[in-house]
């Protein structure tokens, strides 16, 4: 499976998704939580969707208000995020002794 390049900003977005993997999220909500501007956030969402890591849906919230685009991770996306974060954690564990006294 091809995966997108995981930049620090992408990881920040994925972190938000992985907290509640089954929940649908709004763009503006993600922007506020991650501190990313729309010009950074949407290319990330578009890329994740392109690689089938993210699914999207239009939802009507209330009468008279235009439908909103919502997002959540696909099973592939959840799997990739968990694997990525697990790899990141093991890398950190492996490095810690080197930083904490030189005993490997």
């Amino acid at each position: 499976m091809k995966t997108p390049r995981l930049s620090p900003q992408t990881l920040r977005v994925l972190e938000r998704f992985v907290e509640h993997p089954r929940a649908w999220r709004y763009g503006y909500e993600l922007s506020r939580e991650t501190g990313l501007k729309s010009g950074t956030l949407y290319p990330i969402l578009m890329r994740l969707a392109k690689f089938s890591l993210l699914e999207t849906k239009w939802v009507t919230t209330e009468d008279g208000v235009p439908p909103r685009h919502t997002y959540r991770l696909t099973p592939n996306g959840v799997e990739l995020v968990r694997a990525t974060f697990a790899a990141a954690r093991s890398t950190l564990k492996a490095r810690r002794p080197a930083f904490s006294g030189g005993r490997a």
Binding site: Y28, K37, G39, P43, L45, M46, V65, P66
Partner: protein, 560 residues
Amino acid sequence: MIPSAFPRSVAIALLRFAIWIAPHDTLDWGHAMLSELNHVEGSWAALVWSIGGAGVLAKHAALAVILPGRPRRTVSSANELFAKEIPMRKTTLAVIASCVVASLLLFLAPVFRQAFHVSLAQWHDVFHAKQSFGYPSRDQELDALVKKAEQNRDAEALAFVAVRYPNEIQRERLANEAVQLDPNLTWLYAVAGTAYLSPSEIDRRVSVLKQWDPENALPHLFAAQKIGATVTYSKEFPLGKLEGSPAWEKEMDAAFQSQKLDNYLDRQKQLDHRVLSRYRLDDPFQAVSGEDWYGFPNYGVWECSLYAQSLLESGKSLESRGDRKAAFEKYWAVARFGQMMDDGDGFTFVMKKDMKEAYARLGALSQTEGNNGAAAFYAALADQFDKAADKQRLLFRNRFQGSDVSHWNAFLVRLSGLLMLFCAVLLLLCALGIVVRSRSLRLSSLHPSRLTLAFGFSAAIGALISSAVLFVSYWPYSELLQRFLSKGDDAQLFELSAFLRDTQLPFGSQFNLGPGSWYVASWSVVFYFWFAVTILCALALLIAVFRHFQTRPQTSAAAL
């Protein structure tokens, strides 16, 4: 004060426009950003949100133009809600077609064709770099005229070409042929000048001119110039020291004693008018070709000041020895020659210092001899001389450098000509893109993207506006040319000449107008132009290679 709702309105308009130009596969995302705008808190925050989103969509729109065939995917089924690629709208097409037709119709007007031809002059140096560093050797229009003139044995037409032809050998031959056919055109030798002629040919021409018009000082100035060039480059005299050369002094003395100083420019303009009318030539560049020539030998005219100084020195020496009559004659010779130059083409400022001194000396001598009336007259002339010479210098500068109006108009003509070409190319690319994409020429089956439509629409409007600006900017100069061609009125021809001189500069090289002026050498502009073309070609090649590698695996997979 800005109303609080204003930034939000701008944000909505901006995002809607971005959605309008965005490619099909980003449509959902554009609408997603737009719908989120309703939930963004604060008007300015909404504007920032919108700018970011519009930037993303614009980037995708630009990529879609460069890589139209890249793989596209949509991520939801909401496409039906926002149908994007629609059949080309009839009204849009009608507006584009109207603009194009209106621009093309302008070409039916001869003035507009002439204006367009003038606007293309700026490309000459760009595409003829080799010739711009040397001298072009041929001119097709003049070649055709020479052919006709030789068939008709038309001496005037040959004379017309002789002062314009770019190749000096051909110019020399044509001048001799014209004078041989009609000896009344001997003045042509003076107008054609002596540059690039062999010393023997200069001697021959000067001798013929002296016989033909013995009272004119001009042939003597040509002869003095030739001697001056020889003396200055010889080892016998120090650089610039001409006064010791008897031959040079003899020619200058003959010039200063001559009855008149005629540079024959009036005759040349009359001949130009007759030839242009006879052969129905309306090329403005040919009509004003001799307008930036002031009719005197380049160095000879500056040598006049040198000789005037030696006459003044000689007069002072005679005056100190008590020979006031001889001194008066020396001073008078300087003043009289200066007046002859003034009667010609306002060249007095070249000898400004010498003439002022001559008048002052004449006044002082008249005072000494008790002739108070003459003394007051010469003193008044000396006083007024500064102002008169400065005025002449200004007129002279305006004549050869042109007015601010002509600089502005030349700038507009160059700019509008450039925009016309740019819009035409853009329009063609859009049309080609739509046809290739739709693979059909039927109007109903053309499905342009909105960005293509926006480009096409802008290009059509741009072409029409730039054509109109070109027409309006050139119109006054076409009137000046027509006045010269039909009535021989050459009063404002120098304005046309200055304007045409500016139009030949590559765009971006010079702009001669007050504090906003700039100057970049023409060859630098030519270099930057070809550098940019090379970079763009390299980029296009890179994109093509990138596209090739992008599509290759898919093709292989499809084959399997």
